[in-house]
Subunit: 392 residues, 4 copies
Amino acid sequence: MTDSSAPRVPRDRDNDYTPESAAQRRDFLREQCGAQLDHVGSFSFDPGVLPGNVENFTGVAQVPIGVAGPLRINGEHAQGDFYVPLATTEGTLVASYNRGMRLLSACGGVKTTVVDDHMQRAPVFICQDALQAREFGAWVDAHHDDVRAAAEATTRSGRLTYIGHYQVGPLLYLRVNYTTGDAAGQNMTGKATLAACQWMKANFPGEVDFILSGAIDTDKKHSQINMLLTRGKRVVAEAVIKRDVLRELMGVDTQTMFDYRQIGMVGGFLAGSSYNGAHAANGLTAIFIATGQDVANVSESHAGITYSRLLPNGDYYWSVTLTSLIVATYGGGTGLATQRECLELLGCYGAGKVQKFAEICAATVLAGDTSLTAAILAGDWVESHDKLGRNR
Amino acid sequence: MTDSSAPRVPRDRDNDYTPESAAQRRDFLREQCGAQLDHVGSFSFDPGVLPGNVENFTGVAQVPIGVAGPLRINGEHAQGDFYVPLATTEGTLVASYNRGMRLLSACGGVKTTVVDDHMQRAPVFICQDALQAREFGAWVDAHHDDVRAAAEATTRSGRLTYIGHYQVGPLLYLRVNYTTGDAAGQNMTGKATLAACQWMKANFPGEVDFILSGAIDTDKKHSQINMLLTRGKRVVAEAVIKRDVLRELMGVDTQTMFDYRQIGMVGGFLAGSSYNGAHAANGLTAIFIATGQDVANVSESHAGITYSRLLPNGDYYWSVTLTSLIVATYGGGTGLATQRECLELLGCYGAGKVQKFAEICAATVLAGDTSLTAAILAGDWVESHDKLGRNR
Amino acid sequence: MTDSSAPRVPRDRDNDYTPESAAQRRDFLREQCGAQLDHVGSFSFDPGVLPGNVENFTGVAQVPIGVAGPLRINGEHAQGDFYVPLATTEGTLVASYNRGMRLLSACGGVKTTVVDDHMQRAPVFICQDALQAREFGAWVDAHHDDVRAAAEATTRSGRLTYIGHYQVGPLLYLRVNYTTGDAAGQNMTGKATLAACQWMKANFPGEVDFILSGAIDTDKKHSQINMLLTRGKRVVAEAVIKRDVLRELMGVDTQTMFDYRQIGMVGGFLAGSSYNGAHAANGLTAIFIATGQDVANVSESHAGITYSRLLPNGDYYWSVTLTSLIVATYGGGTGLATQRECLELLGCYGAGKVQKFAEICAATVLAGDTSLTAAILAGDWVESHDKLGRNR
Amino acid sequence: MTDSSAPRVPRDRDNDYTPESAAQRRDFLREQCGAQLDHVGSFSFDPGVLPGNVENFTGVAQVPIGVAGPLRINGEHAQGDFYVPLATTEGTLVASYNRGMRLLSACGGVKTTVVDDHMQRAPVFICQDALQAREFGAWVDAHHDDVRAAAEATTRSGRLTYIGHYQVGPLLYLRVNYTTGDAAGQNMTGKATLAACQWMKANFPGEVDFILSGAIDTDKKHSQINMLLTRGKRVVAEAVIKRDVLRELMGVDTQTMFDYRQIGMVGGFLAGSSYNGAHAANGLTAIFIATGQDVANVSESHAGITYSRLLPNGDYYWSVTLTSLIVATYGGGTGLATQRECLELLGCYGAGKVQKFAEICAATVLAGDTSLTAAILAGDWVESHDKLGRNR
């Protein structure tokens, strides 16, 4: 085995999570690559908190946070006026969400509801043939309680809800669904499902093999199965946009907005899009970075469906349904220094807060979609980017 | 119009990009929400650089950066051993990518190629009927040079390459494609396309209306049209994983890996996934945050296709094609303090570097997919998360 | 209201299903359009059997039937050697399927298994808001037995199995799943679901409206939800193609075939295809026409997934999973003159035969895919169409 | 090689297309399977016309034809009142289409337009690596005229229009597009593309291999690439449904219909459907069987997009765009006995008629969608199937 000649990144085997270790790595990189990492080396917390969040810690990305709001939310869990921290480097984004929040608040606010909740790990069982796979599936159904017990023995907060079956040839893909409390739950469900699979393999009267992921989880990727069957939270934001307010604040008529919805729905269908609204990903990404979410889950979380109606009085009912919103208020990066502060800003840090946080995310998406849509229709989209964007 | 009673976020109309303005907002938020924002307020750069990147600047998210590498890349533009900065809060991620990089480097490195390059804005023209829409489309084709001239007059670095037509009823969706130099180009293409549309509307001998986005761009969302026709860079990373090295470093056989590929391809197809590999989103998101990319573009950029072969000698050829990688080495957040440092670490800051950067992104994705796949197959996936992850 | 001036098609109000009525219509059309309909008027059965199958009966399409086979099937329900009637006008089709059947039979035959069975009607409930829709959904779950009873009261053979929930904003899409005996069951499930909806609307303590189809059934169209959750029968055909036999009969190596599978799977994923095999639609359509199936269901039935393995001894395991095969051996057109004869040819007419018939369909698809794939790889695809096809 | 013991279907090597050969096969099947094939043996044409249409000819399927109409069409090519032959065994279908035709005719008829036309064969080139694949693609573009010449040398009526490139790793999928006159053109494009590929392989200064189909054609399957880029004809049918007429004839209000459209578009998007209208497949299949189309192409042809508007006066603009309608008026089964008569009934037999025929297909789809939608909304859907359907 001929290894690459470049030296490996230095680590301190005893305690790698110290300012000194980080500095040593920055020195190493400076030497190897000639890059200054002074700003990267400027952080305000003790690296000793980082085990479980990062390896080879070297410093931080300082991502600017702008605050948008107030956003009036009338949810089940989120109630009141919120100031939403958005970590972004894209000019116009905060201003645009802020504008949408103002509009929605002026119209009475956003109603939010978490309507479903499923996190999953999806193993595949490799059977002798299709018949055995079918019989194995029936056996799994018949032993649901045992399987659940095996899974739940590994976790305090995870609860196995149901197991979906999807057979292809001799392969039985299972999608094992859980609720996971205030954590996003990918690791928890992985561990629980491994235990469940081991139990199934050991107890099924027949030879089957399994692999812990058969790729229909679908972790860190968008998929139609997520859109249909939910991954994380399925959460709805609804608002009635008053005709007069829309015209006054954004210079657009509700009829125009609704006409455009027809075009956007056709466009989304034609393109095979993951979202038929405007740009859920923008707001979600900015909240995710600010609050210590697993930002890679934007790949799943940005998917959704807009449904709207033009009301007889000319007001405009608009709903956004995020079908795969993966969020946490506990675990992952939520407890880190700036991340926790931003969750606290929303009153969402810690236990029992994840549904509230999901509602705020959805309401924010609706605000951003409102604003961008109006900008497109009023013709000031390009102009505002010229004014607020970077590429001037 | 009854406005929400909550107060608006304070702004300084004269110069809002100062430490004082940011502090004033933090004070305001502390008062309104009771949240401390001390860490958020700890940043090492002058906010005066932020116009064009954020509004209502309040502080920063400090996202931990771990460094993975060296990764040997034998690309057209990226050549040598790279240390890749990954900004993340997900334990195991850096370690896993690092492990994959070690494997690939030990196997001789990754070959990378940017094979296509298109950024677009996709307006819709609303015609009288389908016939007029068809005729308008033919007219656009016949006046391609004029349309291009109108578009390119607005930009120094953007070049209009081709205009795709997609008709639905009386609607002609156009997808106007550009190369955009070292910028991601969403704003540039928006401005250029607006000019093109205005020219078309003014000169077409007939009444047509347009809206600057008909939703098939598809900005900030995954779509099949992106996968087919490219959005941003289409970039391939290829490697031959040696059977012996894989077994030694990861305890997995290439045959097993290839067998699993069959299952993953079926799973991805069955689920309607945006990616049939393992987890492109993880590595891309971490690089994007570190280097000042528009992180919301993870929604598009994580899509891709894996193609592999088991070679006669038992080695394993593996390729990843990212079909919609949206990256920049100029503009957006690339010039900010930590972000620029991280780009410089890769030798990718500034003009003429975007293809090199795209290649590094793709090579990193391949490394991460290799490592995660091996972990799933070797059975140490859950164990490593137990050891390195947060939820212990 | 200004009606079109063209005369309406003549009908006999007393008994429209007679040779005379049909002749009268042919005369009328000859007069109106100048078209001879002599062959159309040549049929061998009494039109008196047609109520429930067609209105304005005018004659018949005579679609040529070729017979392919024998095909050795080792299924749960289909066991033995079958001669499959294929109604088609596409030259090469029968010859190609015949060739594939010969290959598979020579390799020991096809193993077939029906692994799932669901027909559905999918109403939508329109609620006041997302919260009510969620609560309505929970109420439906809590009253599952009552809902099922209401549905099943309308049918002898239909059994309600489960109700899937898919919420978007204030809309709760339900997908009500049934087994439907030997009938395809679209009408049966429509009627049963209407009764179920009426019961739900009458008994739910709240105001909700419903429409009998919310378009996710998805009747007469392909969809990812069908592929995931089955529509009609989910049926697998498996075979081990022996290396020597393949080479001798078709001049292709199993390794080549497997290599091509990688390319086909990538192609299907890239294109967003409904099927990642070769051409299920060809064989299914020809069987459907011959046996009195609802041929429009080819839109759903042609979808599926191929999964294969190259075995250590060089033989090639190939499976096809049809995820949405909609077939009947009772009801619809199955009892008509030629249609019934063709079902009888397969030993599939009448009660208790639908699973057997589904298995034969899947085995036929596998035979056709084998043959076409080999033709593509051996380079005799174009040549055989030149020889056997129409456009010479 | 152990062959299946069942006897092979008898063939006459000298002249297999005779009544005697067909009778001999029926006798054989009767003996083998005990099935009577008397009706199958009743046909009115000389089997001597069948070479190129079927092998092992044994008899015919007699599929009942009902006629719907008159349908007023104001197309580019189809102009006047049409009586449409529908071959089906599904009760209600003809009546329902007939009802829709009456409505549309009463509203002034349907406007139809063929807006695009592409038939394709999609080979894949297997290159050494991604870089060579990219270079090969550039070489293909640079030699477009030569490639076209090689392709067109094989055909009188086919014209190569453009070649789309879609790269995945070292694979370059090409989608070679043609216009094909009045034929559907699958065989013609296969032959032409083979010649083109052979020319490319012979002339490219480098080693590349090709396979004639890389599965993105996507022949006999639905796909998103077809929806975007057209396969066969892209044809639009438009109508303005008058509020009063709709209410009088179908008891439904246009506002209700438009409201339902929102639900149907959401449902189609949620389910990942190939069509967001009602049931294009039903009418198309029935026309296809009647007129000798390749009915398996229903798999592609049923895909499409509905776009509609509620007009200020309360009338309802409705358009259907079929994106992948594959039809012919020449070649294939179009010249057979009953099939030709049915084409002649529409004035569509032979050269120069295919666009007219495509327009009639689209107008028929719109009629059927109108009628079914109204039935669903008026609540008489189940009732009419009870009355006219088979399962009574």
